[in-house]
């Protein structure tokens, strides 16, 4: 039982070891990579099923007592996100394998992808601040390798920017960890949340501010999101899809957990800042997306805009809405990146073209929040939470940005629908199938939302805010 939360981290690591040990000259590890993704998906789905059934599982590594141990905490929310991320990443691995060139595969794409998967799971499941930081850094380092894999000048330029900005954010994060340890005497998020109310003075505010800046940079908040579009357009689309499903989402979930534990509840200053900066992000991202012609850059700005909505929801302190938004965006944005990866390479088969074009359209509608997609459910829950918090301006900003995103995406769809077939290798059936499956998942999220949302509201509110 206590072994289950460890498996989503250990299984991909073991897979990476297996790949490293079996590497011969020219090995691409296509099959092993996708099997690794499927194994991770199986393990994390099992974890989610167990947690949803029996409640939170806590694993203390090395059997040391809390708060001294490194511990993993699988709540329904975190386990659910790990499971969903795992399936989306597996889909991204399929797309990347099919669309990527051989040299990149030979330089170890699949083993690095497994490390990203392990680190992201660790960051989502970890229950203490420093452990979270370490997994986060591991994820950053591995995704830096993915951004620069292939070493084209554009990739190296954007990768350097990405690395520099992320390292700066990490310094802030590390300072917050150190101060939190000095102030509260431990790094256990749940313990800190308990101690929080009995402390006054500058400490909690300073720690909260440092953590906020760090994670806001990593989840692409408005004045600090310039690194994102380059990092998502320079590498091949398969890698961009993988990163879109992982890095900013993990940062947002970490911000939710750290915010609820570290930010002083009384002042609410940091939450207010999150609301306004998030609103600015969501509008600025959508406006930038309209102004840009290149489809992939446009998607990258829309991703930043979507993250803005999540930040507003974190600022409104409604945990269930945050989890819902993260889950929906993970699938919908990945679906858009998948479709773009397949664009113009589908060949003449009408079914494949329909799957790719239709997949793009459904995911675009989901990003804009049109029923019957998962986006509608998430945005609806968001508006509800915003009105309950009596913050109509934030709600208005998000709705306006949804409208702008819809415009940007439909324009993109129109221009891509007429795009002529590119020369180069045609894709098989796998990528269109993945596009169709992602679109179907988005639709299912919208149609079957009722029970999921009510279940989420019951469990998440208590679990994450603890």
């Amino acid at each position: 039982m206590t072994w289950l939360p460890v498996l989503p981290v250990v299984v991909p690591l073991a897979m990476a070891v297996f790949m490293a040990l079996t590497t011969r000259f020219g090995s691409e590890h296509r099959v092993k990579g996708i099997i690794g993704g499927l194994l991770h998906a199986t393990v994390s789905t099992l974890l989610f099923a167990t947690v949803a059934h029996q409640g939170t599982i806590e694993t203390r590594l090395g059997s040391f007592p809390r708060p001294f141990t490194i511990f993993f905490e699988a709540t329904p929310a975190s386990a659910g996100l790990v499971a969903l991320m795992s399936w989306v990443v597996t889909a991204a691995l399929v797309v990347a394998t099919a669309t990527m060139d051989r040299p990149r595969l030979r330089r170890g794409f699949h083993s690095i992808a497994q490390v990203v998967l392990a680190a992201a799971s660790g960051a989502l499941l970890s229950g203490d601040l420093f452990n979270l930081f370490v997994w986060f850094e591991l994820m950053l380092t591995a995704s830096f390798v993915l951004v620069t894999l292939g070493s084209t000048p554009a990739q190296l330029a954007s990768g350097f920017k990405y690395l520099l900005i992320s390292l700066m954010a990490s310094v802030f994060f590390l300072c917050a960890c150190g101060l939190a340890y000095g102030w509260y005497g431990n790094l256990d998020l749940a313990k800190i949340a308990e101690l929080q109310s009995s402390f006054s003075g500058p400490g909690p505010n300073m720690i909260g501010g440092l953590a906020l800046v760090a994670l806001a940079i990593k989840s692409a908040m408005f004045p600090m999101y310039a690194w994102l579009p380059d990092a998502y357009t320079a590498p091949p689309p398969g890698i961009a899809a993988l990163l879109a499903a992982v890095s900013t989402k993990v940062a947002a979930f970490a911000l939710l957990r750290i915010g609820t534990a570290l930010f002083p509840p009384a002042g609410g200053l940091w939450f207010d800042i999150l609301v306004w900066a998030g609103a600015a992000t969501t509008i600025a991202g959508a406006l930038a997306a309209i102004a840009i012609n290149d489809v992939r850059r446009r998607l990258a700005f829309l991703l930043a805009s979507q993250m803005g909505t999540v930040l507003v929801a974190i600022g409104l302190q409604s945990a269930s809405v945050v989890v819902l938004l993260i889950a929906h965006e993970m699938v919908a944005m990945a679906g858009l990146f998948f479709a773009v990866a397949a664009l113009g390479r589908t060949g003449s088969s009408p079914v494949a073209r329909l799957a790719v074009g239709g997949g793009f359209l459904v995911c675009a509608l989901a990003v804009a929040g049109i029923p019957p997609t998962s986006g509608f459910v998430a945005k609806f829950a968001f508006v509800q939470a915003g009105l309950l918090a009596e913050n109509p301006l934030a709600v208005g900003a998000v709705l306006l940005s949804s409208l702008l995103s819809l415009f940007a995406l439909l324009q993109a769809w129109q221009s891509t629908a007429h795009e002529s077939e590119k020369s180069g290798a045609k894709l098989g059936w796998t990528v269109p199938a993945v596009c169709a499956a992602t679109a179907a998942l988005t639709l299912a999220g919208g149609l079957l939302a009722g029970p999921a949302v009510s279940g989420l509201k019951e469990t998440v509110q208590g679990e994450v805010l603890r």
């Binding site: 250990v10 070891v17 490293a20 040990l21 590497t23 694993t59 590594l61 090395g62």
Partner: protein, 137 residues
């Protein structure tokens, strides 16, 4: 590569010395300063020096395996050491000790770290040294 008789003679002497010293650092690491990380770095410095004195190809001959395989094996040992606890019904990474020999899974974990650090540094050092060699010639 640097064609210096002094450096070459010393490098030959220093490779086994640093290696033995690194093993000692690795072993004492559980209770005293040292451990897999420091040991791995020490072992790598010896081979890196040998690579400078002779050539990258000669230094590669000293390695038991390709750097990538060392990295994989190291990570593998560390992950494996966590799983030993499973057979004693304990949680992942719980230290399982043999009281008589004072040897336990933390040592296995440290050996993994040692190999991993050694492999990573060898990969770095040999790549850079090859570049230095190319420019020198």
């Amino acid at each position: 590569m640097i064609p210096s008789l002094v450096l070459r003679t010393w490098a030959k002497l220093l490779v086994p010395l640093t290696f033995l010293f690194s093993l000692w650092i690795l072993y004492r690491g559980h209770n005293s300063p040292g451990g897999g990380f420091a040991g791995g770095i020490l072992a790598a410095t010896g081979v890196a020096l040998y690579g400078l004195a002779y050539s990258v190809a000669e230094a590669r001959k000293l390695l038991p395996a390709q750097p990538l395989a060392l990295i994989g094996a190291g990570l593998g040992f560390s992950v494996l050491s966590g799983f030993v606890a499973y057979f004693y019904n304990r949680t992942f990474l719980t230290g399982i000790w043999n009281a008589d020999l004072k040897i336990g899974t933390p040592l296995l974990f440290d050996i993994g770290v040692y190999l991993l650090v050694f492999g990573v540094l060898m990969q770095f050092a040999l790549t850079f040294e090859r570049r230095i060699g190319e420019e020198g010639e």
